[in-house]
């Protein structure tokens, strides 16, 4: 509010006759923003509305405006109805798997990269630079490019269809390490000196000083990594073929396959759409609620 009065006084002082035009400008600004927000929001709202319709209606008419009475039923089916051949896969199960993947990936990445970054920054190691470059080179190749041999590696270690096989190969990149390295280097050197004078060892220093200082950064990185892990598609598609291991995003592939081969039954569009919404909810909520951390993490970690 303070800003508002300030800027308008500034503008009036510049030229009073322009006032109506300035107002028009504001209207245009808001119109553009509303249009943008609408474009972002409307597709998902429309899908949400459609989940309240009968499957037969959706098959015939596609996405629907308005509300009917089927929503609860469709969400319930998506969450709890066992589907697939083995009857082990439900929405809750996939939600759990996605949670494990998102959390496991985020935590694993943070722990491993913090450790590595700490070692690189705070120790006098002859091969620290070498280690840094060995790790840093992994930024070169996204998993998509080395997907085939990674799959081979997981298979020969017998880790297909395991959470370890799902999570660990995704951690094999340097994004986190690189970020924590940058951050640690911005911590004033005097702190280390002070700690050493106090006689604190490296472990104590890490736990008492570094971790508390990094708290905000850890939170920011956690959000980004959680969303990244949750949204993984190609890797879970390849590595999990047992239905009990499906994540929500992987389940979407199965849905698309079933829907595109009109089989014996009326395709369960309502349930499928509900499931796609369930797949969005947790990461979206995290991003919305921890917005400022998330924005900070995103804009600072990628620099």
């Amino acid at each position: 509010m303070a800003d508002l009065t300030q800027s308008s006084t500034l503008q009036t002082s510049v030229s009073t006759p322009l006032r109506p035009r300035i107002k028009l400008r504001h209207v245009v600004d808001h119109a553009i923003l509303i249009a943008g927000a609408f474009l972002m929001l409307f597709p998902v709202v429309l899908v949400l509305m459609t989940t309240s319709f009968e499957d037969a209606d959706i098959v015939k008419h596609g996405l629907q405006l308005g509300f009917e009475g089927k929503m609860l039923e469709n969400f319930e089916a998506a969450m709890f109805e066992a589907s697939g051949f083995t009857k082990t896969i439900t929405g809750t199960r996939m939600l759990m798997n996605s949670m494990i993947l998102g959390l496991g990936f985020a935590i694993g990445k943070i722990v491993i990269s913090m450790m590595a970054a700490y070692a690189i920054v705070y120790f006098r190691l002859r091969f620290a630079t070498l280690a840094f470059w060995i790790i840093f080179t992994t930024l070169l190749l996204p998993l998509e490019v080395r997907i085939l041999p990674s799959y081979e590696a997981i298979q020969s270690l017998g880790l297909a269809n395991t959470y370890t096989g799902l999570i660990v190969p995704l951690i094999a990149s340097a994004t986190g390490t690189f970020f924590f390295r940058q951050f640690f280097r911005s911590i004033p050197e005097e702190l280390v000196e002070a700690a050493r004078i106090d006689g604190a060892g490296p472990v104590k220093f890490f736990i008492d000083i570094i971790i508390p200082l990094s708290r905000t950064m850890i939170a920011a990185i956690f959000i980004i990594m959680f969303v990244y892990g949750w949204n993984q598609y190609l890797w879970p598609t390849l590595i999990t073929t047992d239905e009990g291991m499906f994540t929500l995003v992987r389940g979407i592939k199965q849905i698309v396959q079933v829907l595109s081969q009109t089989g014996a039954m009326i395709p369960e569009y309502g349930k499928a759409l509900a499931l796609s919404l369930i797949a969005m909810i947790p990461p979206v909520l995290i991003v919305i609620f921890f917005q400022s951390w998330f924005v900070k993490g995103l804009t600072e970690s990628d620099k």
Partner: protein
């Protein structure tokens, strides 16, 4: 409800059996999703309940391609299942890798199961066999492309289902168009209008005896005048509103038939069960695929589609015995008839076919017999099957080029030249992988 009771009972029996006996456990990887998968499950449960020595666990592995890839990767890691389902297009890859599988004929005879290839209906007999006629893979879910039609639409137009493409072009299609229908759609161009076009018209599909005599030097013979004339006709029909193509997706092409917009749809005999279970709002029936009288006056049988089961090597004798017993159970007339009824896939043995007839299945559902009738038509020199490596990719090439023809991006002539060249490059590359 009774189904669930029986299933529960079977599970209970299986569990108690586990407790009582040291069973030999084997696994089956398959690509049968949805209702088909439930039928596989039922067969497996019944097999487990029927005896105490063996226990099979079916595992759904995704699409055909995903199942094949998963099986290959597992084999490389020494974790292969006992039985793996492989679709028609993957046959060359699996059969080419000698040592990856145990020929099913050997597996059965070694384990004391009677085997006579002549027990199988003629259309399925040699597709998964080697060039000496030894059966390598057990034909499991066998289907054939057939012609479904909207009976009401044909009546309205005053025509009957066309026997030949000439009849379709000059009589059926124009009448259907006048009656307000799109006359024709189909769901799988490489399968229906290429592979089975070749067998229906008894045209050679590849050199080296359709590829059966080995990968070395095998070349595709797809660039011929008969099929080019067929695709030229398709583009003309499409321009005149007699034929429509809705993309590569199977369902996208089936849907307009179900909606009643398209009068004749070429699909799989395995689609029958699905169509029956839907409330279509019109009566439908089916018959054999038309042929071009200009190409042949003696149309032949078609190839089987679908997939077969391969026994993977690298397991001990007990597990192989269990696999053999499962195959024996699977090919028994009763189980085959059950499978046929539930899914619409054809029964693979003469005995099962006889049982279905005897039981009056085809009196109740005449269209259910079309697939097997078509597979039992007289064979020719080129109708026993084809064997080409990297065939999944060759099909992708066909789909791409056919799509380009039908969306007007390329000419029939260029498309087939392209298919021929790319397919032959792939075949040559495949031959080297076998070295």
């Amino acid at each position: 409800m009774t189904f669930w009771k029986i299933a529960a009972l079977n599970v209970a029996v299986a569990i108690s059996a586990t407790a009582a006996w040291a069973e030999t456990e084997i696994t089956l990887w398959h690509a049968m999703g949805g209702q088909l998968g439930e039928t596989v499950n039922k067969i497996a449960e019944d097999f487990n309940a029927a005896q105490d020595d063996y226990k099979i666990t079916p595992v759904f592995k995704g699409s055909y391609e995903e199942t094949l890839t998963a099986g290959i990767a597992a084999f490389r890691a020494g974790e292969q299942p006992n039985i793996m389902q492989v679709f028609d297009a993957g046959a060359a890859t699996v059969i080419g890798a000698k040592g990856a599988t145990i020929p099913v004929q050997d597996l059965l005879t070694e384990n004391g199961v009677d085997f006579d290839i002549n027990d199988y209906i003629s259309g399925v007999r040699y597709f998964y066999a080697d060039s000496d006629g030894k059966m390598i893979g057990m034909p499991f879910n066998s289907s054939s492309p057939i012609m479904y039609f909207n009976v009401d639409a044909l009546e309205k137009a005053g025509v009957s289902a066309p026997k030949t493409w000439e009849e379709f072009q000059s009589v059926t299609a124009p009448a259907l168009k006048d009656a307000g229908y799109i006359a024709l759609a189909q769901s799988h161009l490489p399968w229906i209008f290429t592979e089975n076009f070749m067998s229906r018209h008894d045209l050679p599909f590849a050199t080296n005896n359709n590829g059966y005599d080995g990968a070395e030097g095998t070349e595709i013979l797809v660039n011929n005048d008969a099929i080019k004339a067929h695709f030229t006709a398709l583009t003309e029909w499409k321009e005149n509103g007699l034929f429509e193509w809705y993309g590569t997706g199977w369902g996208d092409n089936q849907q307009p038939f179900e909606d009643g917009d398209v009068a004749i749809w070429l699909g799989s005999s395995g689609s029958f069960g699905g169509l029956m279970s839907k409330d279509l709002g019109f009566e439908f029936s089916a018959t054999v695929l038309p042929y071009w009288e200009a190409v042949t006056t003696e149309p032949k049988q078609t190839f089987i589609g679908g997939a077969s089961l391969f026994a993977m090597s690298g397991h001990d004798a007990e597990e192989n015995e269990a696999a053999a017993k499962f195959f024996e159970y699977l090919t028994s007339p009763e189980v085959q008839y059950f499978w046929h009824q539930e899914t619409g896939y054809v029964p693979i043995t003469e005995a099962a076919y006889a049982l279905a007839k005897e039981d009056g299945h085809y009196d109740r559902f005449p269209a259910a017999e079309v697939g097997i009738q078509q597979l039992s038509l007289p064979g020719g020199e080129n109708t026993k099957g084809y064997r080409m490596g990297f065939y999944v990719q060759i099909r992708d090439v066909m789909n791409r080029e056919y799509g380009r023809i039908l969306s007007g991006e390329t000419s029939v002539e260029d498309a087939f030249a392209n298919i021929e060249k790319e397919a032959n490059d792939l075949l040559a590359r495949f031959a080297k992988t076998q070295g």
